[in-house]
Amino acid sequence: MNLTTPDAPPGLDRRDFLQKVAAGSVATTVLLVYRPYTSAEEEEESDLLEIVKEASGQKQKPDYAYVIDVNLCIGAGKCVEACNKENDVPAGLFRTWVERYVRTGDGIYVDSPNGSVNGFIEAKDDLVDNSREAWFAPKLCNHCRTAPCIQVCPVGATFQTDEGFVLVDDKHCIGCAACVQGCPYGSRFMNPDTNVADKCTWCYHRVTKGQQPACVEACPTKARLFGDLNDPESDVTKIFKANQWMVLKPEMHTDSYCFYVGMPKETI
């Protein structure tokens, strides 16, 4: 009995046809479901894609982050001094400052004399005797990804760049201070010289020229690090991957991009 239909291609019977369809379906399904996670070919392909993107000017934008290693900070205040000088910060106001924490059996002692621009004077003997742990916590704008200061600005004068810098347009700010109220970290202030809101910019003017922020450069112990999280070779990325980190006031859900390493939980 001839199983081929009059219209079928010559030499292809129904059994062959069904077998090929079944094999094709299984092969397609397997290929769709099973994808090796990091095959050598894919890595090669990915690298190639990066090269192509770079060549065509489509390189991934930097994803800047700031990391503070509390274990390394010695409270020298050099960072504050460098920041004030670099950014002409008015006296008594701070784009960055350092706090000293002393935990005793009775409670927590915190101070930051003049933002620690001149470092710290030695703690009183009683405090030293009672102390169980002490540390320094540098503070600055957290350049949050869901920044409350941006949200509450009524005229859109504060904004975030694609690279993550939260900046203030000092030609547009009306000086209502809503952003100062909205910031949970006390990082903003009203600049009496310019009469607009002011804050740390992660030294945007330096970083865009390939330099490090002034505070990072001035830190004698490398407690402050700044870099691109998209760059696997940057110090920030390495520390970020290798260590336990935390952010200030995680309950505020600001998606802070200032990460702390070795920070005791009493730090606020």
């Binding site: 009775d106 101070d111 405090l127 009306i174 309950e251």
Partner: protein, 423 residues
């Protein structure tokens, strides 16, 4: 431990939050930025909303007891509305850029809608006042031929019974529309505070409702005081006890709501005993103890509730009833003023360090000083005094001829039989 207590700057260690041994505030928190202008701003918008409600109770809900003060309440609200933006502008460190809020509103911020809400309210209020006084403007324009009156008629120099009926309908519509807009104008101020999560004393969804309720209180109380004052100083006029009594009833009811919400806010934080209470507890026993616990609650809240109870429920003779109603109203305008201070400045006392309280520095002079605040608050009264010289505020008023007022003459001249201009 003693040495650390001695080192504390403001309060005993037990009064500081989060086991703080010293009063520690962040480096940039030495000064409180939202100052007296931000205290006076919601106070003024509150009076706007409250006075407008009184006016609308007659124009929309036909509460006849307020017939004689409906126009007064409307003009009173307008006078405060005219200056409501001033404290905000004075507060800005870049006041010449204030218009940016209209040009580039950033709608994720509640504050950005200020210009539109305020503008809408003032347009509604102005049109309503124009309609209320249209007949008067037409008559004055025809009588005096003065250019100002002619301008105020907007070229419509005829009044007929039909046109007055249309005016009345429009007034009712605008008075109804104005209520939610006035509430939004003031409620959004509460929303701005309530939505700032960084400040524990502000961050509650009750805030807009609390602001609204206290707004109605301050508006009614201020009207009651102003009405009594204006009636007392006018020759041949007397205070209508029915007006005072009805205002007192409204005041009592609205203050019950406002006070209950205020207590609920603090009571909830206390019973929740969470993060907020770790800050609010020391705040109330520390920097806000006098202004909140003693004054706002102890002196300015409980006594007026009791006094108004006597006024509303008691069978007092008119003189005593009017006197007590005014005492209660005075206490309540101060209650709301202290409430504004305790919210605006009180919230900023709490350092974001969660371990200390900032200080508020009073200044007599300067853009946000005490004198400027008093002046800004008095400006609406000056405007009211000016307007009342030219337009009739109460039925029977004869602007420019105050001595012509007589006690018997309670029919407003401006609402007598419609006049028709000679075209």
């Amino acid at each position: 431990m003693d040495f650390l207590i001695a080192a504390a700057n403001t309060a005993a260690a037990s009064d500081l939050p989060n086991q703080a041994l010293t009063n520690f505030v962040y480096a940039n928190e030495e000064h409180i930025l939202w100052s007296l202008m931000i205290v006076i701003y919601p106070y003024m918008t509150g009076i706007i909303a409250g006075a407008f409600v009184v006016s609308s109770l007659y124009h929309v809900f036909q509460l006849q007891a307020f017939k004689s003060i409906a126009r007064f309440a409307l003009v009173f609200s307008f006078c405060f509305g005219a200056f409501a933006g001033l404290p905000l502008t004075l507060h800005l460190t870049q006041p010449f850029r204030a218009f940016n809020i209209f040009l580039t509103p950033h709608f994720t911020a509640a504050m950005s809608v200020f210009g539109y809400v305020y503008g809408t309210y003032m347009v509604i209020l102005t049109i309503e006042i124009w309609l209320v006084y249209r007949e008067f403007f037409v008559r004055k324009a025809n009588e005096t031929k003065h250019i100002i009156w002619k301008i105020l008629t907007l070229g419509v120099n005829q009044v007929t019974p039909e046109s007055l009926a249309v005016d009345k309908k429009l007034i009712g519509f605008l008075a109804g529309l104005g209520i939610p807009v006035a509430f939004i104008l003031h409620g959004y101020v509460g929303f701005i505070f309530g939505s700032i999560k960084a400040v524990a004393w502000w961050a509650t969804p009750l805030q807009p409702i609390i602001f609204l309720a206290s707004a109605v209180v301050s508006g009614i109380a201020m009207l009651l005081l102003a009405y009594t004052f204006l009636m007392k100083r006018r020759p041949n006029r007397s205070i209508d006890p029915k007006v005072i009594k009805t205002l007192a009833v409204c005041l009592w009811m609205s203050f019950f709501i406002a006070f209950a919400l205020e207590l609920l806010e603090v009571g909830y934080a206390y019973f929740e005993h969470g993060h907020h209470w770790t800050l609010i507890g020391p705040l109330l026993s520390g920097p806000l103890y006098n202004t909140y616990v003693i004054w706002q609650i102890g002196i300015f809240s409980f006594p007026p509730i009791i006094i108004l109870g006597f006024v509303v429920l008691g069978k007092l003779r008119n003189g005593l009833m009017i006197f007590l109603a005014n005492v209660a109203a005075l206490l309540l305008v101060l209650q709301v003023l202290f409430m504004r201070y305790n919210v605006v400045i009180g919230g900023q006392f709490i350092s974001r360090s969660d371990r200390g309280f900032a200080e508020f520095h009073w200044h007599w002079f300067g853009r946000e000083g005490i004198l400027m605040t008093v002046l800004v608050f008095l400006l609406p009264f000056f405007l009211f005094a000016f307007l009342s010289r030219y337009i009739p505020i109460f039925p029977g008023d004869h602007p420019n001829h105050p001595k012509a007022s007589t006690k018997e003459d309670d029919t407003p001249k401006d609402s007598e039989s419609p006049t028709t201009s000679p075209a």
